[in-house]
Symmetry: C2
Subunit: 411 residues, 2 copies
């Protein structure tokens, strides 16, 4: 008898029939004697529809109001799933974010969870009730509804699993696990049985859309075993685990776990800024103050007393970041500003990289052999990322997938 | 400079364009120096759509979940209107029912307001902000979302006006005032400049769909001047007033203010129950316990030691009421149960009735002349109601409108 938090995404909640299918899945886990808490997203497309409606009035309107509107998506699906569970004989009650006191900061549309009151949910579980909790949303100190940003329902699931000390957090989605890369780009992509939190973090943050990055961070931090499973096809999915050894002693073979990519970034360069201490902070300070998240940061040694400073941001933040950077360029006496939105980031990810040299050069060689020019490079212990022109995305992913033999199962 | 609560219904909020029209109306009141609080309904059809979705899973599902789902309708429109107001330069913030601590009892889908915390709204008004509050919804002591039942947004408007001690509560709708009867049934129906709370109460409760009955009760109880106005056509609308004298001294002429009707009732008769003290309570007790509201009640003197007991309920409650009554008939040793759903109630309403005899006989004569059979009669100080077969509705209303000369303006 385990305590399991199950999170079902928008596709799983896409229609009344699918919601009834989810209810039958939850019922079968409960019939095995498990205690289950369910977290759900809005019906697929609904959050987009609501935000489009809101932005049709004012695209730059109050984010407090955007959250007020967008959060209704899950409020509908929690009610529907609770009704469907009751109908198949499983006592259930739905809860919005504020109803379980899921407290966040006040950063509307990208709020961060601060605390969850687990008492109410534990009381329900003790009474044999399956609580159905709205993902993606919370409440701030002023009583305003906040949302956690795209994919936030995963984070809600993991945060609840941590607060309830659940045995496992299962993320149900329309894919049956984590793949070596996106099968829509490389049909030979292969499902991984296990992957470490660190690798998953890099895969998620770099654009593999299976899980939201923050949910993996949370899961790693609170040691919540996380499993990605399909709602529609039975199978073991992919277990995301803390322990590298549990990968089956095949770390030596598995140099690389996967190839992630991200189409949603834009690049901004301030060219010819004075190369002096504090310049990075002088640039990234105002960017951070504008609440813009920066991903890659590259600063190169300059030829004279100046240097080029480049960073990438989400395309959604590009307009605002561009305004900030142009003002900064004048202020700092830079030579100019260069920006690009027709870029894509491709990354190799693998814990095996730690103990093996030569991965980077093998990667760059493979790309060069296909005539793909690299614009930016950034490395960490378990990943190497390159920024290339977006038209080369598919070619680059397939080339690397073959070069690192990712289509061949390791045993 | 007045404090005005304006309530806009579903038709007024029916599209982005209409919401922007509402924003411009609110802005123009504010430009005149008034302080404005706005209450809104869901987009027309949205509450029905949401409830249909919920009931497609389980028509007899948990009303707590129905409310959780249905209450999202206004949560969307408050956000949209706040955005639209901000866009035209009017600072605005949206609030759900629970965000203004609109406390109700726990009778889901027909909850009653118990208290409103006006502090937050008054602070907003002092700061020059126009608060936009969700109608129709509140929160109970367990933290569950409740709804007030159909037309509940009117009640929210009046309750807020009372709590804020507003100078006037304006109900914006798609009609330009209260009419002598429904113009769709009698094209000669005429707009009334003024009507008393009592008359309005009878008009509303008897099916004139302009205002929800509870809102008129509230307005009368807390002496909130209430005005029905059109969102789309400028005009004075109809003022609902406490004072009969303010009707312009024409009470003598205005014997009858209007003709109301209600198609939503069903009739249940327990025939041949023992005619003994306490029998009405023995019947209506279990009906009330089942949370079914009863409208007309008629008990006639029986020929022997038994009597026929008839009452009407909303058609929505008919199935449940029918179950209760059948069980009661067995228990009380009644001769049988008769029910009818093909009925309509037509009522004459007017404060002038108090001082004038002969209204009832004039009414019955007019109906008889058209061959309309009367099934039930019920009277009060300012109204006379008859139940007839539903196919005679239009004929009855037109006949009475003409008989009481309601198409002729009184001055």
């Amino acid at each position: 008898m385990a305590l399991i938090v199950q999170k079902y995404g928008g596709t799983s909640m896409g229609s009344v029939e699918r919601i009834e299918h989810v209810a039958s899945k939850v019922a079968s886990w409960r019939a095995k004697g498990h205690r289950v808490v369910v977290v759900v997203s809005a019906m697929s497309g609904e959050t987009d529809r609501l935000l489009k409606l809101a932005k049709s009035i004012d695209p730059r309107g109050s984010e407090r109001e955007f959250d007020q509107i967008a959060s209704t998506g899950e409020q509908v699906t929690i009610g529907l799933l609770a009704l469907a569970l009751n109908k198949v004989g499983v006592p259930s009650k739905s809860y919005t974010g504020w109803q379980v006191a899921l407290r966040t900061d006040s950063a509307h549309m990208k709020a961060r969870i601060q605390a969850i009151d687990s008492e109410r949910l534990l009381a329900d579980l003790d009474a044999g009730i399956v609580p159905v909790v709205a993902g993606f949303q919370g409440i701030d100190d002023t009583g305003a509804i906040t949302t956690l940003g795209r994919g936030g329902s995963d984070t809600t699931g993991v945060a609840l699993a941590a607060a309830l000390k659940a045995d496992e957090c299962q993320i149900y989605t329309d894919v049956d696990g984590v793949y070596t890369t996106d099968p829509r780009v490389e049909p030979k992509a292969r499902r991984l049985d296990r992957i470490t939190f660190e690798e998953m973090l890099e895969m998620a943050s770099l654009g593999s859309k299976v899980l939201q990055i923050r949910s993996v961070e949370f899961a790693g931090k609170y040691k919540v075993p996380l499993r990605v499973v399909s709602t529609f096809v039975d199978g073991p999915g992919t277990l995301i685990t803390l322990d590298e050894d549990s990968l089956g002693g095949n770390v030596e073979d598995a140099l690389i776990s996967g190839i992630a990519f991200n189409r949603d970034e834009a690049q901004l360069t301030i060219a010819g800024v004075p190369d002096r201490p504090g310049i990075a902070a002088a640039i990234l300070g105002p960017v951070g103050d504008a609440n813009i998240e920066v991903d890659m940061i590259v600063q190169n040694v300059g030829a004279d007393a100046s240097t080029d400073f480049t960073f990438t941001v989400h395309k959604n933040d590009y307009d605002r970041a561009s305004d900030v950077v142009k003002a900064l360029a004048v202020e700092l006496g830079a030579k100019g500003v260069r920006t690009a939105t027709d870029i894509v980031k491709v990354s190799l990810v693998g814990v095996g990289m730690r103990s093996h040299a030569g991965i980077a050069s093998k990667m760059f060689k493979a790309l060069a052999a296909e005539g793909i020019n690299i614009r930016m490079i950034s490395t960490s212990e378990i990943k190497i990322s390159v920024v290339i022109e977006d038209k080369y995305l598919e070619l680059a992913v397939r080339t690397l997938h073959r070069a690192f033999e990712l289509d061949q199962a390791k045993s």
